[in-house]
Subunit: 145 residues, 2 copies
DNA sequence: GCAAACCCTGTAGTTACTATAGGGTCAAGA
DNA sequence: TCTTGACCCTATAGTAACTACAGGGTTTGC
């Protein structure tokens, strides 16, 4: 199949496939006489593997490592794979915590404007301005920005 | 003060300050005879405003709008500021939900390897491979990837 | 005077794509 | 056969928000 079909079946863009090939994540396929890429089923499977890992927000660097393991199964212990997943989970966990704090901060700031005001009197803007002038801010109540 | 001191007091990098100037977020300051930037207190306050908004994960485009309002307070209703904050809150909220799903998915996948295995037998890798071959995956149990 | 710390501009790099320019190929329909 | 739209190709640039570097100039304390 050609790149457009691989893209449709792999759930991504043809540009993305070319990008993965440049980045060494997908092997370069055979070409037709006119220079078109010609893909077979193993390419589709590898693309699906990559896209699946991307859907889990894994970095291309991490995916590259998993692809390597996939291509070279060995008797070595899978500690590295576990560690990779654990690190990813930990990153996501921290990101959630960080975003939850951020959401709280934004809501605190948002609450400074609970009724229609003019821009000149907006509690949100006044809070931001006051904080910038050193007055201390409402949204980072637990510590400095 | 010079850019290094502004950076220290504003809690960011001198490069970042130059970047903000190029992006039009900070006005270009006066210069010494040798070409060095010379900043006064209003610059520090504007930088603090920007950094504070950045700490709330606002985009530079959104910050630019708030800075405009700050510099040109008006009698217009502050609906736009409210909408800006609401949109930001909504984005963060959706991002949290998305990351929570992702965390769950990763933990499901991680659980496929509960004891030491070899790479060749790793449940994580086997799950990813099986999914790539069309078998359905464990981590996206509620729908396709 | 010397050296370290700072300053300057211009450019490039980071990550994972995404878009565009300019040109070639293919296949269906008239 | 010709036309045209859809597809293909490579090379390059852009996205967002920084961050780093090259190459060179300035300041300040010893």
């Amino acid at each position: 199949m050609q790149i457009g079909e691989l893209a449709r079946r792999g759930g991504c863009d043809a540009e993305t496939i070319r990008y993965y090939e440049r980045e060494g994540l997908l092997p370069a396929p055979a070409r037709t006489a006119s220079g078109y890429r010609r893909y077979e089923q193993p390419h589709l499977e590898q693309l699906a593997f990559i896209r699946h890992c991307r859907s889990l927000d894994m970095s291309l660097a991490d995916i590259r490592r998993l692809v390597d393991y996939h291509q070279h199964p060995s008797a070595a212990p899978c500690d590295d794979i576990n560690a990779l997943l654990d690190a990813q989970i930990s990153r996501i966990h921290q990101q959630i915590a960080s975003l939850q704090r951020l959401e709280q901060q934004l809501q605190t700031l948002r609450a400074r404007c609970d009724a229609p005001h003019t821009v000149a009197d907006c509690g949100i803007l006044k809070s931001l301005e006051g904080a910038a002038s050193g007055e201390g801010c409402v949204c980072h109540a637990d510590g400095p920005a």
